[in-house]
Symmetry: C2
């Protein structure tokens, strides 16, 4: 049956979600998860069991704008526009399927991903964010963006990011990753100011973006010098880096694939 499905190709859903109500992306028995909800909606819409693969296994509380979720297609699938409407009617509050693309047979949203972009929003200053309160971490203190940019430059390139990974999950794992971009960008959304940490890389370790952001904030508020971040990286020890920034500031923004993945 799998061989049969592969012959028919695959589909990739682009999915946005608010992380707050979910126990993370990955399916878990008796928990409300994004993957669990999507698979239930697909099962109803397609009248068969559907197993999905997500590009990023976001933790509880982490949001997504451009999560990509793939599944193998069958004969006689409904029109994508029709399926899009059905899925959004079925999937419930907090998740929106924004697009459906046909992909080549055997496509995996996880293993075919070339690059992932995460964005972490910080709300500095004495006044808490209101409209951005669900999607930004209020740092209370102001941030020195130029110090943060100097610190961030040490992370770009291929490195062992063991210092920026949940310690228990690093054991035995290959902890080398390639970071392409770390940008610190002042932005305005819904009339409120924030500072967005934009990180692009080939793949990320568990909590890597949140530990990098927590460390950049240490520099931004002046508790650490900009040079400290490179030293923390070189130490290859979780204890050398800063605290893990809270989940609700983080959004899986975009996942990129080679052109040949798409039909």
């Amino acid at each position: 049956m799998d061989a049969n499905r592969q012959a028919h190709g695959a589909y990739a859903l682009t999915v946005s979600y608010d992380g707050a109500p979910f126990s993370g992306f990955a399916r878990q028995p008796d928990r409300d998860t994004v993957q669990g909800r999507l698979e239930a909606a697909l099962a109803t819409a397609l009248r068969r069991e559907v197993v999905t693969v997500g590009a990023g296994r976001t933790d509880a509380g982490v949001h997504a704008l451009g999560q990509v979720v793939s599944y193998d297609s069958d004969e006689n699938e409904p029109e994508p526009a029709v399926l899009l409407r059905s899925l959004n009617a079925l999937v419930g509050e907090g998740i929106v399927v924004t697009g459906i693309r046909r992909a080549a047979p055997g496509f995996s949203a996880r293993f075919d991903a070339e690059a992932r972009e995460y964005r972490y929003r910080l709300a500095p200053g004495p006044v808490p964010p209101l409209f951005l309160g669900r999607v930004a971490w209020w740092t209370r203190r102001t941030l020195n963006l130029s110090a943060m940019r100097t610190a961030a430059s040490a992370l770009v390139g291929e490195h062992d990011f063991r210092s920026f990974c949940v310690a228990e999950s690093a054991g035995g794992q290959i902890t080398f990753r390639r970071v392409e971009v770390v940008e610190i960008v002042p932005e305005e959304h819904l009339g409120e100011h924030c500072v967005t940490v934009r990180i692009v890389g080939n793949a990320f370790l568990h909590s890597m973006v949140r530990i990098i952001t927590g460390s950049l904030v240490e520099v931004g508020v002046g508790r650490r010098d900009p040079g400290w971040l490179g030293e923390a990286l070189a130490a290859c020890d979780r204890a050398a880096a800063g605290p893990t920034a809270p989940a609700h500031g983080l959004t899986l923004w975009h996942v990129a694939y080679p052109d040949e993945c798409w039909l």
Copy 2:
């Protein structure tokens, strides 16, 4: 006592709130209102009873980014930065005081306002908004912005806006208002697209911005011609205009005062 307070001048708070949890701005017995919460927080912080005046009496569900709320000051008021921190600690979820300014004796946030700006966010297209879901009205259909702009131009100037006012509240009232600007602006917030109706005027009738927006959407989706909006205005009859757009898309954005109000 009032004369004594006036001699000491007044303060103007700038206030943001999420309209969803509140029974509107205006204080009501046994209801959770923005004004009720602010007055309770001020009473605790200043250890006296405080009566406030708001620039706009927003309805239940309507948000504010730049609501202005005034009160007469007393002798020995705390430092504004200290009071700002106290009020934000006291006022509770859903309201943020973003600024405090000293105003001239007798200042009223309502009667001294020269201009008010409201913004209404529309989310067109087949896919519902996710991060903008709390602050934008999903129209489902796409919107013809150029038709909406043509229609909107009929509203600019001083007119009798009786057609764009809750019928029961118009009786006996003077329904002339001056609208300075109606703009239809495509925007992006939090990675999602929306269309913002930006309206500036000297003052607004009950539900005026929501009825104007509901009428503009009739034109935008093609149910009415652009010329219809001017005819609806001329009719001076609520039944001639379109439906009232839902509260959650609307934000009281900014209130302007003459310079001489500030000390």
